[in-house]
Symmetry: C2
């Protein structure tokens, strides 16, 4: 998969001529649409209008997030309250993607996820677990809960670990917070396994979004923030690299609509 | 460094002719002398007598442990209460080794270690920390404490992380428990650093023991248990590999004293 990608960062100003062939845009949410924070964060200046301009231009717009501290519904409610005109069906988050995988592969998870994410798994059979799922459980990442997840995992004939994202950390108003990837690495080491990552930056995850848009990778721009877990530390991601850098979504939208 | 090594495991029976040139023995403790458990564990059958026989034979005997849930003094008290005739000065554990390193390199640690280990750091300056130290903190590995250690680490100009051992997990009477290595991997990933491991299986750690014995590596047998963190998953350790396998310390002692 090879999508055109721009990254919101300070290193703006690259040439954007390749934008001409674009038919769709996939937007990262945290860091592109809004800044996270204790009260749920706030819209980034100009991003509400930018989303509207992109949609009005006829481009197919989808959103992706690794948010796993909330159901997709609650998350979209929050964005709508900020002023974004976004519908749930256009937002792709790890939990619904994982639920689909669990169903397809007939897996029963042991869940170590945020309490507020639990409703996503209402219809999922969690009896006699044959895999472990971790999300951004934050304070629920206690020694006891991690140990419990570990015991389930190490007790499986073939340990199977799913991680909803692989972020290292994120910023909230009260400081940096460890993200799910850190605990994924912990359990990977404990059980000598490699987790299956569901969500950004998994190619499967982006492919699901592309399928929904009915577009080919080269027809789509992926707009990610620099703290999305892909940059700067994961520069060697097999399917995603930055083609350009922009200050923010408003600037990216200007570039897209000017060159489109 | 190349020490002769035997590992307590079920795969006993290898030839032990190379034992003739041995002048000293370094014994792992947990899994070789005693089995861990909730009440502090119990001596492994025959190991008390085996230690005595080794010492009486004129071999230089030292002990090494990655125990970091207790001070070395308390730990040795426990072993003595089980019946082992062991003195504190013959036991090498990570915390005193680290305190030496901190002093030599003028480092001030942020400590995430077990409460019962804290007395080892009584004389250590922990103001304005310029490194992070983790031990087997068990229940103290809460999200909040890990996050605090992470913030200190990521805030340093050059993040410096020490890990007292790198074990994956260990067994207690109530089941498997995650060990410090798991949280080392977590913080390594979060900050994109590689921890300095103090304790087994660090070559520096074993060198300190050899220095104390005034022996060369080839003159010493290292007796480790199969769950020591070196086998089976770390078979490629640069300085330690198994030369033989024995059922237990009593069998190893028989082999050593017969061939010596």
């Amino acid at each position: 998969m090879r999508m055109r990608t721009c990254v919101s960062s300070m290193a703006a100003g690259s040439s954007m001529e390749w934008l001409k062939s674009v038919k769709g845009v996939i937007l990262d949410m945290c860091g592109v649409l809004y800044d996270s924070g204790e009260g749920g964060g706030q819209a980034i200046h100009g991003s509400i209008e930018a989303v509207k301009r992109l949609m009005d231009s006829g481009l197919i717009v989808r959103f992706c997030t690794n948010e796993t501290q909330n159901t997709r519904e609650k998350f979209v409610q929050k964005l709508r309250a900020m002023g974004f005109d976004i519908s749930v069906s256009h937002v792709f988050s790890p939990a619904p993607a994982l639920v689909r995988i669990l169903r397809e592969r007939r897996l029963r998870p042991h869940l170590l996820v945020h309490d507020d994410l639990m409703p996503e798994f209402d219809d999922v059979d969690t009896s006699s677990p044959n895999c472990v799922v971790i999300g951004d459980a934050a304070d629920k990442f206690s020694y006891q809960n991690l140990n419990e997840a570990f015991r389930v995992l190490i007790g499986l004939e073939k340990p199977l670990l799913f991680s909803l994202g692989q972020g290292r950390y994120y910023k909230e108003t009260d400081g940096l917070k460890l993200d799910v990837g850190v605990f994924m690495k912990a359990l990977e080491y404990a059980c000598d396994v490699q987790a299956e990552v569901v969500g950004k930056p998994s190619a499967d995850f982006f492919q699901t979004v592309l399928n929904d848009m009915s577009l080919q990778p080269h027809e789509v721009i992926l707009q990610l923030c620099s703290g999305s877990g892909l940059w700067p530390s994961d520069e060697k991601h097999p399917s995603v690299r930055a083609d350009g850098y922009v200050d923010d979504l408003a600037a990216a939208t200007d570039a897209i609509l000017t060159n489109h």
